[in-house]
Amino acid sequence: MSTDLDLSGEDRTGTGRATGTGQYVVKALAHGILIVASALAIIPFAYALLTSLKPEEKIFSTMAQIIPAEPTVMNYVNIWMQNPLDRWIFNSLLLSAGVVFFTLLLDSLAGYALAKGDFKGQRFVYLLVVGTLIVPPQAIVVPLYIEMSQFKLVNTYWAVMFLYIANPFGVFMMRQFFLSVPDSYLEAARMDGCSTLQIYTRIMLPMAKPALSSLAVFTFTFIWGAFLWPLIILSDSAMYPLQVGLAGLTGQYSSQWGQLMAAAIIAALPVITAYLLAQKTFMEGIALTGSKG
């Protein structure tokens, strides 16, 4: 795997080893730019959080009133009681669990077959993966909707999951990973009498843990944020994932920003918490998109 993100802060390239005032100026400048960039990235979230803690009638503010004088959680209580937010979160979790699990299972199997297998049509399957990698899922939603209505799957959780489980990215990524596993492991296992599938479960799967966790995190972020397809295929608001439900609130609460921001914070919290706990895995998940393997 060629995505070894090093965020340790240790000087690896020796670029900072040279001393002198020039170096200090460069470093100070770099710190300055990075601090500004970090602040710009965080401020909108902080602003949303502050807004969500303000009483609705006191939202109209000047710069001086940006910190709420008397913070309140009423906005959270209101938005939670008036809307099935819990159900939407549950739906999002359900879709994420299904998609992440089946993506990992099917993609690691297919990636294993493409990397270590030897069968007629292997090249064709690989071309299928690389070819579908390019197709933007959004561009095929109309025919897919027609197809799903033929199968009587409109407005089901299954239909939402199918599109995302069919995503070819994971196959490509797992293939790249399994290619880096030496063939000698397989030979040895075969000598011990392992079948093809046993090699997968006993050797390949445990070995692929880092790649699998990166793929899991990447897929999870992707599904948690999925919007267009669930919006189209689901018609019952009780089945909406959080993002679709949230987008629907904008009309209902058009100027009640305190409550809208409370909803936004609630929606962002699970992913941000997971991200803060496993920052490196998250970033490696993204970095994998850029790796040719």
Binding site: L94, N155, T156, L205, D236
Partner: protein, 77 residues
């Protein structure tokens, strides 16, 4: 005699759920994933599962229960 039309209803029935109905998709998906992850986390030693998988199994199991008992929640929507 089960007609094809009746069979076609099955995925629809277990794929949809109203606001106060058991979420059958959830029971199936969470249940299945719980079993699979639980197997990796608690049975298979060579997988070397960490705390994340073990906690995840418990969480997924709770979600399976929640999917089924959704309607009995005292929550006025």
């Amino acid at each position: 005699m089960i007609s094809p039309a009746t069979l076609a209803i099955v995925p629809l029935k277990i794929g949809t759920a109203g606001l106060n109905e058991p979420v059958w998709t959830g029971v199936i998906v969470f249940g299945f994933v719980t079993l699979a992850i639980g197997y990796l986390a608690f049975v298979r030693r060579e997988f070397g599962a960490g705390i994340v998988l073990k906690l995840g199994t418990v969480l997924l199991f709770l979600l399976t229960l929640l999917s089924y008992f959704w309607p009995s929640r005292p929550w006025p929507h």
